[in-house]
């Protein structure tokens, strides 16, 4: 079976720049996987998302090398319409994620389906479902422009969910949200996963992210892929430093190891709260 998404030695340079924004990106994502991307700001996370959605090179010029395939077919063989149905993209900035032509939240959510020529009955049903799923009934008749940043983000997510793509790209979806909103988004990601959807997630809230991802891609400041694999395995090779942020669980673990409270593990480290709690409990028992 072909992997759903496959990147092969991808290198990209923005126009008029000498430095590459991405280099040697190489990974395969199978269907139903939740993949995380981490790296400092400016390390090319959003750029990489744009490559996977083919906004690079379709909208941004520049020098793109290597191959990107979805379901075994090169990206350039897909039409824009096919891509919008296959890959849903939720952007980082909530303020520009409103179409600007719809004056109610409900119609904003249905806009993508209108463009796809879906019948009005089906759109209404689908939109009602999305409003229900994301608890948007209080604001469904409001003008999207009058919403707060967090609310706009929710509406944007609903609009993409309505199209029901196979792959979801979430580029820092919770950066403008409070803890309650953040929890809501992660619950949605969990649901998508249980429906067999494939999710690519860029997020700085590592503690939360680690609970949901299967695979992790780490980019350094130069946009170079420095690790790809299971988070508990690849984070074992990193220590707390300037370039790579680590989840709290891993930091606690490494500090404990540094202080000789526990032996240093080389192949696997705790990355989630559950895992570090287990480690500490084991440590407490041995005392």
């Amino acid at each position: 079976m072909n992997p759903l998404i496959e990147l092969n030695d991808v290198l990209y340079r923005y126009p008029l720049t000498r430095k590459s924004a991405l280099r040697h990106i190489q990974f395969k994502v199978t269907s139903g996987m939740v993949m995380g991307i981490i790296g400092v700001n400016g390390s090319g996370k959003t750029t990489l998302c744009n490559v996977i959605r083919s906004f690079i090179p379709n909208f941004y010029q520049g020098d793109l090398q290597g191959t990107v395939t979805l379901k075994g077919k090169p990206l350039n063989q897909y039409s824009e319409t096919e891509l919008s149905q296959l890959v849903g993209y939720i952007f980082q900035n909530p303020f520009t994620q409103i179409s600007g032509v719809k004056d109610t939240v409900a119609e904003e959510i249905g806009y993508g389906l209108e463009n796809l020529g879906v019948s009005s009955k089906k759109i209404q049903k689908r939109v009602a479902k999305m409003i229900d799923l994301l608890n948007l009934s209080d604001i469904k008749d409001k003008n999207p422009f009058d919403l707060s940043g967090g609310q706009k983000q929710m509406v944007a997510i609903a609009a993409i969910l309505a199209i029901n793509p196979e792959i979801f790209i979430f580029d820092e979806p919770t950066s403008q949200l409070d803890p309650a909103g953040t929890t809501k988004i992660f619950k949605i990601i969990q649901q998508l996963k249980s429906q067999g959807k494939t999710v690519i997630l860029v997020e700085h809230k590592l503690d939360l992210m680690m609970q949901y991802i299967d695979q992790l891609l780490v980019l350094d400041e130069q946009g170079q892929q420095i690790a790809w694999g299971k988070p508990e395995e690849i984070l074992a090779s990193f220590t707390e430093n300037q370039t790579i942020a680590l989840p709290t669980a891993t930091r606690v673990y490494q500090r404990m190891a540094a202080q000789h409270l526990i032996p240093i593990a080389t192949n696997k480290v705790p990355v989630t709260q559950d895992e570090i709690v287990q480690t500490i409990q084991n440590f407490q028992e041995t005392r």
């Binding site: 959605r53 906004f55 909208f59 824009e80 319409t81 919008s84 149905q85 849903g88 993209y89 952007f91 900035n93 303020f95 520009t96 994620q97 409103i98 179409s99 600007g100 032509v101 004056d103 409900a106 119609e107 249905g110 806009y111 993508g112 389906l113 209108e114 463009n115 796809l116 020529g117 879906v118 019948s119 009005s120 759109i123 209404q124 939109v127 422009f145 944007a156 609009a159 993409i160 199209i163």
Partner: protein, 246 residues
């Protein structure tokens, strides 16, 4: 009734507007034209928008007409002086000219104001889409309509940003004008900057799909629309015939 008229299909109402505009232009005299103000007022009352109609009419068409009337009657030179007061001379031809001119403005203005009070832009867009107009054109029209409130709110936020950096935007008219002009640049700049991201948002919503789009809330012609359209067309043709040729 208050809901019946606003819910009519846009073209049904547009037939009336078109008919009245044509009749106003070609029917000689001014009685028909001035009476359109009353016709539109009655329609506005039936549609439940009489208050807004009157206020909008007074603020725009009435002032313009009055201005033109005064200029035409008192200041533009004509023959057949029928009365004078200091430098102002009133002539019968001047009076006639201003009455004809302003009556047309009143008629066309009145019916258009009524039309836009009872027809939502999004319904017009829907009608255009049903008629197979270009999707991009409709998009431009709709986003322009949204742009105005958006620009206003953007102006407010930029004014806030300037105030919190020590620019006086409060106070008399001159102070406000002074802070207003340098604001225009940033407003335009910001909206251009945000456009790039908005293009990608639209792409994610399948905007470039070539298939004909549908509408989530369809706007369709009803039997009443067909019937009314024909009634309106016939009545307007009748008025046109009687007014112009008889």
């Amino acid at each position: 009734m208050t809901h019946f008229i606003p819910r009519l299909y846009p073209t049904t109402k547009a037939w009336l507007v078109l008919g009245i505009i044509l009749c106003s232009i070609f029917i000689p005299g001014y009685w028909f034209q001035y009476s359109i103000f009353l016709v539109a007022l009655v329609l506005a009352m039936l549609s439940g928008v009489a208050k807004r109609y009157t206020s909008l009419f007074l603020k725009s068409i009435f002032i313009i007409s009055l201005f033109i009337f005064i200029i035409q009657t008192f200041l533009v030179y004509h023959d057949h002086i029928i009365g004078s007061w200091y430098i102002f001379k009133v002539s019968s031809t001047g009076l006639q000219a201003s009455l004809t001119m302003t009556s047309k403005i009143v008629a066309i203005g009145a019916i258009l104001i009524w039309f836009f009070q009872v027809t939502q832009v999004k319904d017009i867009a829907a009608a255009m889409q049903n008629a197979g107009w270009n999707k991009k054109l409709i998009f431009v029209m709709l986003s322009t309509m949204q742009l105005i409130p958006q620009m206003t709110s953007m102006m407010n936020t930029i004014a806030d940003a300037q105030r919190s950096r020590g620019v006086e935007t409060e106070g008399n008219l001159i102070t406000r004008m002074k802070s207003f002009v340098p604001m225009l640049g940033p407003v335009v700049l910001t909206s251009i900057e945000q456009n790039e991201e908005r293009v990608l948002t639209l792409e994610s919503r399948a905007f470039s799909n070539r298939q004909r789009p549908t509408l989530m809330v369809p706007v369709n012609k009803t039997k009443a629309d067909y019937l009314l359209s024909w009634i309106i067309i016939i009545i307007m043709l009748g008025i046109f015939y009687w007014g112009v040729f008889k």
